[in-house]
Amino acid sequence: MTENNEIEPIPTELVSLRDSMRAVQPPASIEQALLREFRSRQEARRPSRGWRFGWAAVLAMATLVVAVLVLRPGPQPPEAVESAEQTLATDYIPIGYGQPLYPEEFVQVVRISVPRSEMVQFGLPLAPDAGPDRVMADVVVGEDGIARAIRFVE
């Protein structure tokens, strides 16, 4: 029994009206119009090919720089090798599929530990002697709770 019955039963006339309304459905045209709108918005949000190639170039350049710094032969400056402080290994890398961040969107950065092998998914080199199995990463989370970008920390 619902709370609705606590005052008095629903008048029978209202029950007739309620029953007559049960099968009422909005016209299918509403759903079609909304789906068109949804798709057009998704299309507008999707980054253009040029944008993607631009990011790919930036990412490739960042990867190259990281690779050169990490793998270059010869003695390293002591502070680069033995610093107890964690340093940034990469810039933020956008995580695909999600909508882009809005300029004024409130975001949170969460530091997590991930398997080092995850770096491969983002096009980063995985040197066999790179270090421990796990690596720290900063994940940018948007207002909607969806991860938007990641950067790896050494």
Partner: protein, 191 residues
Amino acid sequence: MRLSELADEHLLTRLLAGDEESFTVLFHRHQQRIFRFSLEMSGSSSIAEEVTQEVFLGILNGDVRHDPERGRLSSLLMGVARNQVLRLIRKDSRYAEDLVGDERPGNGAGDALSELTNRELVESVKRAVLSLPPNYREVAAMCDLEEMDYAEAAEVLGCPIGTVRSRLHRARAMLADKLRPKTPSPSRSVA
């Protein structure tokens, strides 16, 4: 887990991330109640269609922002529908009278006369509901026609549960009065 089993909040997150199927599931979950409530409030199919569309466009636009700590998504959507329908009713008061033409098809069962009688009854109740002041009409539509519990109706209306109870009690009394057969006054019957 199938999408249809996901809670509204998860579907909302997924659709905002661009998942069309989540949008479809969420739409099908709420569209009928929003449409019917708008129709019960306005008596106008065109208003009900406009309200239903606007509610879901609000989600796509990001105008409808849901905070789970402040209530259920279903209540939020009904609240948006309520505001929209009241705005449209105020804008064009002729819709308060435009109710009889919005007949629903019969179910095909029973003989023609009883079907006709039932339809007449339903139409008279529709008229009576639509003639209620909006603050009573909305509680009758939510609690009696859409079978929302008092707590959810209070969430939608932003008022205490006690207010919902008392308004519903008053709405039912007004409806009973409007639907009571009018008997001729004694002086006329004698004459």
